[in-house]
């Protein structure tokens, strides 16, 4: 048996995240349909692909039909950073088919396309918009060439001429029995989802012959750099390497000091590398300070870190040490200010920053702020998405500290308002208690997977130098009820007696 198969080259599209969604790049010579409502980004996606892929040896033809006037299209598309005027008439040729389409005779349209393809020998051909071709063919009752024949001939022509083809069209319905769907090797659907005041762009690859694309809806954003697609994060180091190339090495057999004296002992020697830690506590209890101490300790040991901060504060408010480390690019900050975020977008930004800095410590501060920053449409799936994010981060070997706002409720013991406790390998809880008419802070290590740790509740206080952990709060009971009762005299030196 002859087992030699045709080799399908996969082209790197130049659109961040898109190759992952396609399942490893765009199959060469494929016949693709980019569909979606007006304003969904079809023309932008097509231009971005074209400018990334076109070279003098592999030129592209962009046929404009009766849709957006070519002058306006050029006017707006050149605003994107990927638009390179130098490529025009060198490797990218715009051809207007308005006149041929206006006749309603698909034979004329096809003849002109054949003429241009034969004369330029393109590697890529775009038709924008194909809906205009369909409408034009319907109005005049094509007796010479039906739409089905037209598409069939077009597909055959492009494959024989070794060109990858893109048809752009709006108003296609998934239930539309359009012959385009049958012929197309790739169906890329762009959508806009609106909920409350938030609009989120989503992409779905409904079909990509010859390879396994990532199923589901993937969010994307259009900025001055063009389109960025946010695919679900890879969940293992192997997947990461497949997507992003060789990873850097993070030691996995050691424990990480937390940067707070006494806490490492409570944790049985520090936080095991590659673990995820949830620090839960009420507002002002010191979660962010603990997170900053964790990053600063890493920097002291020569490690780099990344922080995704969802609390609206300046870098300086994290303390001069963290501000300096950020300024020195030893701690990377992920931009969380964009509207209508998705967890996948944050995942991609985090992973990209982790790889850039070869970071080993990651902080997400806080999950409450994270959820608020998400577009409403993603909030229902927050737990599932967060679970994927944590798996992805720990999968590549980084150690993650997440903070979680926890309302003090003294009639129940909770560690997270999201039911996220099960997602993490370790949990530290902070609480307020009342002793002698003063608010005191206590901290305990609730869980460290597969490791011994202290179960003691320790008093702690916060001063200009950070968190100071005291001894175990012995002689009291009912601490987690908020109002402990004394069993024996308390060592007053451990209590925070300052009025500040």
């Amino acid at each position: 048996m002859n087992t030699a198969k045709a080799i399908i080259n996969r082209l790197a599209t130049g659109v961040p995240g898109l190759d992952d969604v396609f399942g490893g790049g765009l199959p060469e010579l494929s016949f693709n349909l980019i569909a979606g409502p007006p304003g969904s980004g079809k023309t932008t996606l097509a231009h971005q692909l074209m400018f990334a892929l076109a070279t003098a040896d592999r030129p592209a033809l962009y046929f404009t039909v009766l849709g957006e006037p070519p002058l306006k299209m050029l006017r707006y598309q050149q605003q994107f950073n990927f638009f390179d005027s130098e490529k025009l008439n060198q490797s990218i040729y715009f051809i207007n088919l308005g006149e041929e389409t206006a006749t309603g005779d698909l034979k004329k349209v096809l003849a002109r396309m054949v003429e241009e393809v034969e004369s330029r020998g393109p590697s890529m051909v775009f038709v924008d918009s194909f809906r205009s071709v369909i409408l034009a063919s319907e109005t005049d009752g094509n007796i010479f060439l039906t739409l089905q024949q037209f598409i069939q001939q077009l597909g055959t022509l492009m494959t024989s001429w070794q060109a990858t083809m893109f048809l752009l069209g709006e108003y296609f319905s998934e239930n539309d029995p359009s012959p385009v769907f049958t012929v197309a090797d790739g169906l890329i659907w762009l959508r806009q989802s609106v909920q409350s005041n938030s609009m989120v762009r989503k992409m779905e690859v409904m079909k990509m012959r010859g390879q396994s694309s990532l199923p589901g809806l993937h969010t994307f954003r259009i900025t001055n750099d063009g389109i960025s697609v946010y695919s679900p994060p890879p969940v293992s180091a192997r997947d990461v390497e497949m997507r992003h190339g060789p990873s850097f090495t993070i030691p996995t057999d050691t424990r990480m000091p937390m940067g707070v004296v006494g806490l490492d002992e409570m944790m049985g020697g520090g936080l095991p590398r590659g673990y995820s830690l949830l620090v839960a506590g009420p507002s002002g209890s010191g979660k962010s300070i603990l997170a900053c101490a964790f990053l600063a300790e890493g920097a002291r040991l020569g490690e780099t870190g990344v922080i995704a901060a969802f609390e609206q504060r300046s870098n300086l408010s994290r303390g001069i040490e963290i501000a300096t480390l950020i300024a020195d690019d030893r701690i990377g900050v992920v931009d969380t200010l964009s509207p209508s975020l998705s967890v996948d977008e944050i995942s991609m930004l985090l992973i990209s920053e982790i790889r850039r800095l070869k970071a080993s410590r990651v902080v997400i501060d806080s999950l409450s702020g994270f959820e608020l920053a998400l577009a409403p449409t993603f909030r229902d799936d927050f737990r599932e998405s967060l679970s994927r994010l944590v798996s992805a981060l720990t999968g590549i070997g980084v150690t993650v500290l997440m903070t979680s706002e926890l309302e003090d409720r003294y009639n129940e013991l909770r560690f997270s308002p999201y039911g996220t406790a099960f997602l993490t390998d370790a949990i530290i809880v902070q609480r307020y208690i009342e002793v002698d008419s003063r608010l005191q802070r206590v901290m305990a290590v609730v869980k460290i997977r597969a490791s011994a740790h202290s179960s003691a509740l320790h008093l702690f206080r916060i001063d200009d130098e950070g968190i100071k952990i005291g001894e175990m709060l012995a002689g009291y009971e009912g601490l987690l009820g908020g109002r402990p009762t004394r069993r024996q005299p308390l060592d007053r030196a451990l209590l925070d007696t300052s009025d500040g």
Binding site: T64, P69, P70, L71, Q78, F94, N96
Partner: protein, 141 residues
Amino acid sequence: MQIDKYGITAMLARRTGEDLDAEKIGSTALFVWSDLDEALLPIIGRSGVAVLYKRSLQITLGAYPCLIYAYDEAERAGKAHAGLDIALSQQTSEHALEALSALLIAFHELLTYLIGSSLSERLIQSVWDKPTNGDAERKSE
């Protein structure tokens, strides 16, 4: 008088030759527009070029009312550039050259306003740099 940043006046001088003659300027105008058509028609289509031409005429009419014939004729005949050669040939050679130059500058500036200078130059600078009427003239003979 508009400032010619594109070398249009020099191009016209090259194409019309030393003996200024309004009729020659009129026919040169059609050769230049034929070159512009060649550069732009594939990209923005016949109707796109026609609209730009008409708008350029309208902009230039204030300073050169003699071009009204070209404007009306294009409208009447439904054909871009119709009557431009006649409108120019009925002027003094200096005035015809100035009017054509102003029309072409207005066209370039309009295109620049719409798609930016980089892209405009990319598309039509070759027309301004052309040494002679070349193929277009030979075809018409």
